[in-house]
């Protein structure tokens, strides 16, 4: 730009024009500045936005490597107790992630970001990026850091009398973990309030991914906080504890999962765990559980003698019922009181073995994450035609796996991977817990691993099957559930539930013990045909309008359990057949998300929940 040569034109007649020129120039500059400022601001936002993106990716990468490190655990061939290769601890990884997230947050603050975020329409993506960076910082600082600190402390500061959990560390961590879970919920709420749909799809996708991660993190932090509150006392901080641990055989379905076959008694004393007894259902054949579960329970299940017939003790999906029967039966059998009960199935063992590593049985058979389900629920029936030998084999598996898991639980280096796997199984409800101590049970009962039917009136759908044939054919059972809300009418919302059950058992080649029928039936069956009591647990207050089986109207048995209407059908399910149950219900209108009961079985439930708009009230 050419500047005016003022010193060569001092004449007075030029002064006015000079002033005018300067005024115009200033105005031009002002206009230019005003016009350029948004451009400069936009440029600033783009540059700092890209830098913030890099910081957030770096933060994410640090957390991903930490997750992989925890999941992998130490190499399996390293003997227990040996020195492990030095690795960066979880606290260091989380701190690195927190530092990156903090830088990202700083980069997205300031007048330019503040102003841009408040521009209508155009400011949507800016607001989302700003909010996401702040959420990432809070997540790493207020949520993950306390979790990592606790994990590090639990790993390094083990009990003086062995490598088991240091309960005092866990108890001290409880308040911080509680605060972390509250912070996680707050962050989730804030992310929910960010714009979901802007003119920049990439930003929308990033927000959705963050929300999805938070959906996994929030319950995990809630579980961790709850664990810190109840685990010290449950693991015997104030005195020895004793628990019944039941291994459910999901090849024969029961309400909580599968038939209670093998079981063990677990003791916990100041964090030190040990199994003191292993047994199977035959041992409990004569046990009588002196427990009164109320008239409602008796009306639904009493005719099947659940308190005197061990294998019918868990017909209801409400796990506390089964746990109370098991603990009372054990007391009747041995005269010893227990403090609670756990239940898990071979699929849960598979998940835990993936973290702990495989184990060998006395006969040399390898039990791995990949084969434990097939080994215990299918191939063992062919390998051991003698029932006694097979039940002994189940106990061998239970003993070996339990020993392996305890060994890893007492190894501080390998424990985080096992706890992470256990946490996953708990959240899926494949491992269930009940405490006979009311203060602990109040905490457990609200969690997925408490296995309790919900007390709320929120929409609920629960498909529950009980094997009514005495077969082991539920290994081959496919379940599909569709929950589809319909019209809103004066009396509520119409809901259609469609259940498809398919028996995929082969037509031949199965061992007799798998296909044998113990039920009384007034019709002939073929090997491989199965019979189920199919129950649908509906939302509280629901009413059945119509029911149909394979397109034909039917009547179904109706009961109530813990406020939920229960519709049950006695269903013959031939080998290779699919049968379809349709229920048309009238439920209270609600905008709350549907709560789905997933009965843990061999094959996962395939559930579809159709979206439901508000009924307008």
């Amino acid at each position: 730009m050419r500047m005016p040569r003022l010193w060569k034109h001092p004449e007075p007649h030029h002064a006015d024009s000079l002033v005018g020129w300067l005024g115009r120039r200033r105005a031009r500059l002002l206009v230019g500045a005003l016009a350029g400022l948004p451009l400069v601001g936009a440029g600033w936002i783009v540059i700092t936005g890209l830098l913030a993106r890099d910081e957030l990716l770096a933060s994410q990468q640090a957390l991903n490597s930490l997750r992989q490190q925890i999941a992998a655990g130490p190499p399996a061939e390293v003997p227990v107790g040996n020195a492990m290769p030095v690795k960066r601890g979880p606290d260091a990884a989380v701190r690195a992630a927190a530092a990156h997230a903090a830088r990202a947050h700083r980069l997205t603050t300031g007048p330019a970001w503040y102003s841009a975020a408040h521009v209508p329409v155009l400011g949507g993506p800016v607001r989302t990026v700003r909010g996401a960076a702040e959420a990432a910082e809070r997540l790493t600082r207020d949520v993950l850091s306390p979790l990592a600190d606790t994990a590090t402390e639990l790993t390094t500061d083990t009990a003086k009398d062995g490598g088991h959990l240091n309960l005092s560390v866990l108890r001290r961590a409880a308040p911080a973990l509680g605060q972390a879970s509250r912070s996680a919920s707050d962050v989730r709420t804030e992310v929910d309030e960010l714009p979901r749909r802007t003119w920049l799809p990439a930003v929308d996708r990033a927000r959705a991914q963050l929300a999805e991660r938070l959906d996994r993190i929030v319950p995990a932090t809630v579980d961790a906080a709850a664990a810190a509150r109840v685990m010290p006392s449950m693991l015997g901080e104030r005195g020895p504890r004793r628990y019944v641990v039941v291994f459910e055989n999901t090849a024969e379905a029961r309400g909580t999962g599968g038939l209670p076959g093998a079981f063990a008694v677990l003791t916990a004393d100041r964090g030190r765990l040990a199994f003191e007894h292993f047994g199977n259902d035959t041992e409990m054949a004569d046990a009588v559980a002196a427990v009164d579960l109320g008239d409602e329970y008796a009306a639904s299940h009493g005719h099947n003698a659940p308190t005197t017939t061990w294998v019918n003790s868990n017909l209801s999906p409400h796990f506390p019922y089964a746990a109370r029967i098991w603990t009372a039966a054990w007391e009747d059998h041995t005269g010893r009181k227990t403090d609670g009960a756990f239940a898990l199935d071979p699929s849960a063992l598979s998940g835990l073995l993936a973290a702990s590593g495989s184990v060998r049985l006395p006969d040399g058979t390898a039990v791995t994450a990949a084969n434990v389900v097939d080994l215990t629920e299918r191939s063992s029936y062919a390998a051991y035609p003698d029932t006694r030998q097979r039940k002994a084999f189940f106990l061998d598996v239970a003993r070996a796996v339990a020993g392996r898991l305890l060994g890893v639980a007492n190894d501080p280096e390998r424990r985080p991977a096992l706890l992470a796997a256990l946490s996953g199984q708990l959240r899926e409800g494949r491992v269930k817990v009940w405490s006979a101590h009311p203060s602990e049970q109040r905490e457990l009962g609200r969690r997925p691993y408490g296995g309790a039917l919900p007390d709320t009136s929120d929409p609920f759908a629960g498909l529950v099957v009980n094997n009514a044939a005495g077969t082991k054919l539920d290994y081959y059972l496919d379940r599909r559930l569709e929950w589809a809300p319909g019209r809103c009418v004066a009396a509520g919302r119409e809901v259609s539930v469609t259940v498809d059950l398919t028996n995929r058992a082969p037509a031949s080649g199965l061992p007799p013990y798998v296909t044998q029928r113990l039920d009384a039936r007034p019709y002939r069956t073929r090997p491989g045909d199965n019979r189920l009591l199919v129950s649908y647990y509906a939302s509280k207050g629901a009413r059945l309008a119509e029911a149909a089986l394979d397109g034909r109207p039917i009547l179904v048995n109706q009961a109530v359990e813990r406020g939920h209407p229960v519709y049950t059908l006695d269903l013959e399910l031939p080998a290779g057949a699919t049968r379809t149950l349709e229920l048309h219900l009238l439920e209270s209108p609600s905008d709350r998300p549907l709560s789905l009961l997933r009965q843990p079985m061999v094959r996962p439930l395939r559930a579809t929940v159709r979206p439901y708009p508000s009924c307008g009230n």
Partner: protein, 272 residues
């Protein structure tokens, strides 16, 4: 023609053995595949009402037209099991007795009907369907197992039956306090619900593992329906029981008649 006493003994023993073998045969069918000496209790079953012959069924149902005339009936669940439906009325043998033994009822203005149905005392034990049929709106059914007279269920039903009727239709059966009561069986569908109670379904310690049970009703699975996958129940165990029992009784009658005829002839011969 049988003449000698050894032959008489053989025929009588054969008849007796045949008769005695019937329940044993059925038991063998039930346990044909089950390994012995292993804890294998009965699998769970759907709750069904159980009432002794001559007893009473107390019911409440909704979904009928207002003031509709409703007829109650008790029909064998499997047509091969019995020769014909029992008549209502004629109770007094099984414990409870309905005040009004007519099997016709009238729904109230809300389409709800309450009542007491007398199971005829001569009703053979077995699986039945208790059905309420409205003149206009159709029917609703629930499975009921009729046991031998003086079976369990005696003396449990009066209070419940009276209680339902005292509600006078003001509250529906499912809302009137019987929900969740042991012994109550309730079915729903087709726009109707039916709750019935005979007072016989308390938990029996060890009953599942030890008792011999009746053939069971399958909701949604009738004896003539075709099931996906081509498994069709063509014949019932209870039907087979009756055929075998009839055959045994016939054989026994022939044997007794033969023995009688032979004895008379022998007596005449001796007299002669």
């Amino acid at each position: 023609m049988i003449k000698s006493s050894p032959w008489r003994a053989v025929v009588a023993a054969t008849a007796a053995t045949f008769v005695a073998a019937v329940p044993l045969t059925n038991a063998q069918f039930a346990y044909a595949d089950a390994p012995t000496n292993v804890y294998q209790p009965y699998p769970p079953e759907l709750i069904t009402a159980s009432v002794p012959a001559g007893g009473a069924i107390y019911f409440g149902a909704e979904g009928f037209e207002p003031e509709e005339v409703v007829t109650a009936s008790l029909d064998p669940e499997f047509s091969t099991a019995l020769s014909g439906p029992p008549r209502s009325g004629g109770g007094g043998g099984g414990g409870d007795e309905c005040e009004d033994q007519d099997a016709t009822y009238q729904a109230n203005t809300r389409g709800t009907v309450f009542g007491c149905f007398q199971v005829p005392k001569g009703t053979p034990p077995g699986p039945y369907l208790f059905t309420l049929t409205g003149e206009e709106s159709g029917s609703v059914s629930a499975p009921v197992t009729v046991t031998a007279r003086n079976g369990h269920g005696d003396g449990h039903g009066h209070g419940h039956g009276g209680g339902w009727r005292s509600a006078d239709g003001a509250s529906l059966p499912m809302e009137g306090g019987i929900e969740g009561q042991p012994g109550t069986v309730k079915v729903a569908g087709n726009g109707k619900t039916l709750a019935l109670r005979t007072g016989a379904a308390e938990e029996q310690p060890g009953s599942i593992g030890t008792s011999q049970r009746e053939g069971l009703a399958l909701a949604g699975y009738d004896s003539t329906s075709h099931v996906s996958g081509s498994t069709v129940p063509t014949e019932t165990d209870s039907g087979l029981n009756w055929v075998l029992l009839g055959g045994a009784a016939g054989l026994a009658a022939v044997a007794v008649k033969t023995v009688t005829v032979v004895r008379r002839r022998h007596a005449r011969t001796e007299q002669g």
